[in-house]
Amino acid sequence: MSLVIKGASLLGEGPADLFIDDTGTFVDIAPSGAETIDAAGLVALPGLVDLHTHLREPGREDAETILTGSQAAALGGYTAVLAMANTSPVTDTAEAATRVWELGREAGLVHVQPVGAVTRGLAGEELAELGLMHRSRAGVTVFSDDGKCVHDARVMRRALEYVKAFGGVVSQHAQDPSLAGPSACCHEGELSGRLGLPGWPGIAEEVIVARDVMLARHTGSRLHVAHVSTAGSVEVLRWAKAQAGRDGHWDVTAEVTPHHLLLTSDLLAGYDPTFKVNPPLRPQEDVEALRAALADGTIDAVATDHAPHARHDKEHAFVDAAFGMLGLETALGVVRTALPDLSWADVARVMSVTPARIAGLADQGRPLAPGSPANVVLVDPDASVTVDRDASASLSRNNPWHGRSLSSRVVHTVYAGRLTVRDGALAQAGAHSS
């Protein structure tokens, strides 16, 4: 099936037509018999790439499956997601990684790229079979114990050293467990003091980020910092990037979640577990620092940390409720709302081009130009969407944006030349063709 997208505004610049042939590649001239989409007034961006998605399969298919997560991703404008390793069983072997990759192919809506665990069973002690995961068909290059911090400095050092052999990257969930204890669930500050919730101090993130950038320098390896949440971490990253730019042979990147760009810790005042997330929501000063860091490139990417949970896992006392919130369907709208002045080219940079580079996904985040694989999202920049948590492809409803109005709207998504989302709804026919 070939496709003509007429009159789209490429990265917010003047209108142009995009031609996609039946191999799913952008071409110079309109293929014959192509379906035509009128994209006048819509902004075209390379399909979004999420460095940080929890798909819950295997193990918690009641909360999300690779298929439903893929659907949510497509609706959010994504053409690739990195599926975190903290499933049950953990993605810590080549077989487990390949299985996730295959299920992603079967769903066929986005590229599902498994993230491998850094340590066996996420226990933080022995390295998982990083090399075998890399050599598998899944071709794992990003490794993370996300949900847990690789807190043993020696294990972190070895992981960074080991993945150098094949250009891997370690994505760290930075949370010193001795500074943010097992129940830590609220930004440590006046609010946690008054609410009596166990504090999760910014310093618990910052000391790990500081340690890890030094380890990255020492090993000359690639470090990626997941979901940065504090102004202090931003300062450390700014320093590290300046240094790495001079030394050259080490590479530090970082991501921020949409929710940390817009929501603040005072939402916890009513103890609603919808807003319980790890790392926790932070005060306005941190939010401002994160926005500035994303705009100036200190933070490289936006990653959703899409974390679906069944209702009953959230309906506990706040301290006992599961961490996490949904994010795939709303990410672009949140970024547009939090940073309305960000250019579309910058949106493409932080939500597609750079994430694809960090994850080593050659087919993703490419220019919308002949020869590139046709992964593209078309966005109505002037629309706004009032989020309804029940209008979701996700199996879960832990949506912090319910009832909120977000800027812009994903209208069409094209993955590998096929429409996965048409007029804001899943394009069923496209979902199952090969």
Binding site: E188, S192, G193, E315, A317
Partner: protein, 312 residues
């Protein structure tokens, strides 16, 4: 007032009204037949997810003296360990037709959350490190009986503030009644952000017990949870007592007849010396009988009269 979750739910008038009712209830306690018919036909469930014989019995007797049907549900360790959500556990109990739910839970905010799920009037009988409003009311009521009014009086709250729901409720209740409050603890046992909080809420903080005591009109000692002693919050029991305990020597710093409160159970010899616990000005046992009166008043205001609650 539909629930009592936090002192913040109460206006100053509400507090005074509760105190007046509590005074009436106090009189009832002295009668030979201690029952009032006020809550006949009403059902109150004490749902305790954490043990507390003292608070549970107080609520139980309070309910019974008001002629309510009182049922105790010990939910300790039950729900989460069986995979049941707190919401399901509570809804199951309330489906049996409950008018009042007295809830004690080890997690901060649990009573607030529960109040959003159920139709019954919810009384927070202590939620984690958050609040224990009836304790604060009974403390203030007790002190008011001794000091007349709390307006302009200086109350020192001393001890493990970080982990204390009693402190969190008391600091609100006492300042609302016009008292000047100074809280004293080692820096490791001060809640995070207390500097900004105290400035906004109008109370003072200090690390120096000896400097605060001579000016105090009332002293409220907080319990040190023994299990936290080696948690790097302070070096040793001995050092804590020397630094922050109400020792015999410190008793001498107090003005005469300054009432001494403690929410119990006391660690004698740790935060409070036996001499202080048993001193003539100790009001520890009086707090227990005040507690009963206050809880009767609270249940009465929430459950008697019109279905919306309120004073009949």
């Amino acid at each position: 007032m539909k629930h009592l979750l936090s002192i913040d739910d109460l206006s100053t008038d509400d507090i005074h009204q509760l105190f007046e009712t509590a005074a009436d209830m106090h009189d009832v306690q002295r009668r030979e037949v201690k029952k009032l018919p006020a809550l006949r036909g009403r059902t109150v469930v004490n749902m305790f997810f954490e043990d507390s014989t003292r608070t549970r019995s107080s609520f139980e007797i309070a309910g019974k003296w008001l002629s309510a049907d009182v049922i105790n549900v010990s939910a300790k360790g039950s729900s989460a360990s069986k995979g049941e959500s707190l919401r399901d556990t509570v809804l199951t109990v309330c489906a049996m037709g409950v008018d009042g739910l007295v809830i004690r839970h080890p997690a901060s905010g649990a009573a607030v959350q529960v109040s959003e799920w159920v139709d019954a009037a919810v009384v927070n009988a202590g939620d984690g490190m958050h609040e224990h409003p009836t304790q604060a009311l009974l403390d203030a009521y007790t002190l008011q009986r001794h000091l007349g009014s709390l307006e302009g009086r200086h109350v020192a709250i001393i001890g493990d503030l970080t982990h204390s729901r009693v402190f969190r409720s008391n600091v609100q209740c006492l300042t609302r009644l016009g008292a000047r409050v100074t809280v004293v603890a080692p820096p490791t046992l001060m809640p995070s952000g207390i500097v900004a909080w105290s400035a906004a809420a109008g109370f003072e903080t200090s690390y120096d017990v000896d400097a605060v005591l001579p000016d105090a009109d009332a002293v409220m000692m907080l319990r040190v949870q023994r299990e936290r002693m080696s948690g790097a919050f302070f070096p040793s029991a001995r050092e804590y007592t020397v630094g922050y305990g109400l020792t015999r020597n410190r008793l001498a710093l107090l003005k005469p007849d300054v009432p001494i409160c403690h929410p119990g159970p006391m660690n004698r010899g740790l935060e409070i010396a036996a001499d202080a616990a048993d001193a003539a000005q100790s009001v520890v046992l009086e707090q227990v009988s005040s507690g009963l009166a206050i809880r009767m008043a609270v249940l009465y205001h929430l459950l008697a009269g019109s279905p919306e609650g309120g004073i009949a």
